[in-house]
């Protein structure tokens, strides 16, 4: 599944990093403590967090994530969007909790190893 497919399916708002919408999503991760996410998030994941400051982009780049979802109706900072555009990491907005979106992603097959 590509980031743009997620955007369409779950009606996520693209706040930045449009140039990365063709990245492939293979996993999901939730977390708001940057060190914890930095240490544990899988590559290719869509990361759900309430953090909107610019440091989330560096974490996503270094962990080779597919996209960041700023959840809980939080807004990414202007610097975050600039950085995301530069690095090609999509920043998506979701009005509800990370839990709600994670549940829907899981139901859609994200993070479930393919049979066989």
């Amino acid at each position: 599944m590509l980031v743009k497919d997620l955007v369409e399916r779950f009606e996520l708002e693209v706040a930045g990093g449009q140039n990365g919408l063709d990245r492939e999503v293979t996993e999901g991760y939730c977390g708001d403590l940057l060190s914890e996410v930095m240490g544990n998030a899988p590559a290719g994941c869509v990361w759900m967090t309430v953090q909107g400051h610019q440091n989330i982009v560096a974490v996503a780049v270094l962990r080779e994530m597919a996209a960041i979802v700023v959840s809980g109706g939080q807004n990414p900072d202007a610097e975050t969007i600039q950085k995301a555009d530069k690095e090609g990491i999509p920043i998506l907005k979701w009005p509800d909790s990370s839990f709600r979106l994670a549940g829907q992603l899981f139901s859609a097959g994200v993070g479930i190893p393919e049979a066989g």
Binding site: L34, E36, H53, N55, L62
Partner: protein
């Protein structure tokens, strides 16, 4: 071949294709191990906007040299954690990566106040981050523990009021190269 290899140690900015060639040549066992490439990146203290860029530069460099993605990820985690430590606590600093025949050496130096109790700082959950840092999702006390977990060797030197040097070594696995 020898000339290329020797030349590289004097000028780290030669094209990467030559670095690759030299790395392969050196691996054939004809030469004494020597640093093949060393690059340094500046870290500006308290600059949260640029924070992470030095680590991203290191990640891109290692990617261009075709190292194993898992190895690159470990180096990236360690680079980022140490870079954030410098940004939050350390004043200005430098992050450098050295590519050797069998290992990568990541070294971070800063001119900050130093670490009062290194043993305590290495414990998971211990943090000296302030409220602003915590609000941004830092200060979980996982920085140094993450670095220890993801490197093969770590050495921390922090004499009082004389800055901090963190040196981490990552051994390059035999099958860790795709070239």
């Amino acid at each position: 071949m020898r000339a290329i290899l020797l030349g590289l140690t004097e000028d780290a900015d030669l094209p990467l294709v030559k670095v690759r060639l030299a790395r392969l040549t050196a691996q054939s066992g004809n030469f004494k191990p020597m640093p093949q490439l060393k690059k340094s990146f500046h870290i500006k203290g308290r600059d949260f906007i640029r924070a992470g860029e030095a680590s991203i530069n290191v990640q891109n460099l290692l990617k261009s040299m075709d190292f194993d993605p898992r190895l690159i990820r470990r180096v990236a985690i360690c680079g980022y954690e140490s870079e954030m430590n410098v940004v939050m606590h350390g004043g200005d600093g430098t992050l450098s990566i050295e590519v050797d025949n069998d290992k990568l050496i990541l070294e971070i130096t800063d001119d900050g106040p130093g670490i009062e109790d290194i043993e305590l700082a290495m414990q998971a959950g211990y943090s000296t981050a302030n409220d602003d840092h915590r609000e941004m999702g830092f200060g979980a006390g996982m920085g140094l523990p993450n670095m220890k977990k993801n490197s093969d060797q770590i050495q921390v030197e922090s004499p009082p009021n004389d800055g901090t040097v963190v040196r981490m070594i990552f051994f390059i696995p035999d099958k860790g190269k795709s070239d």
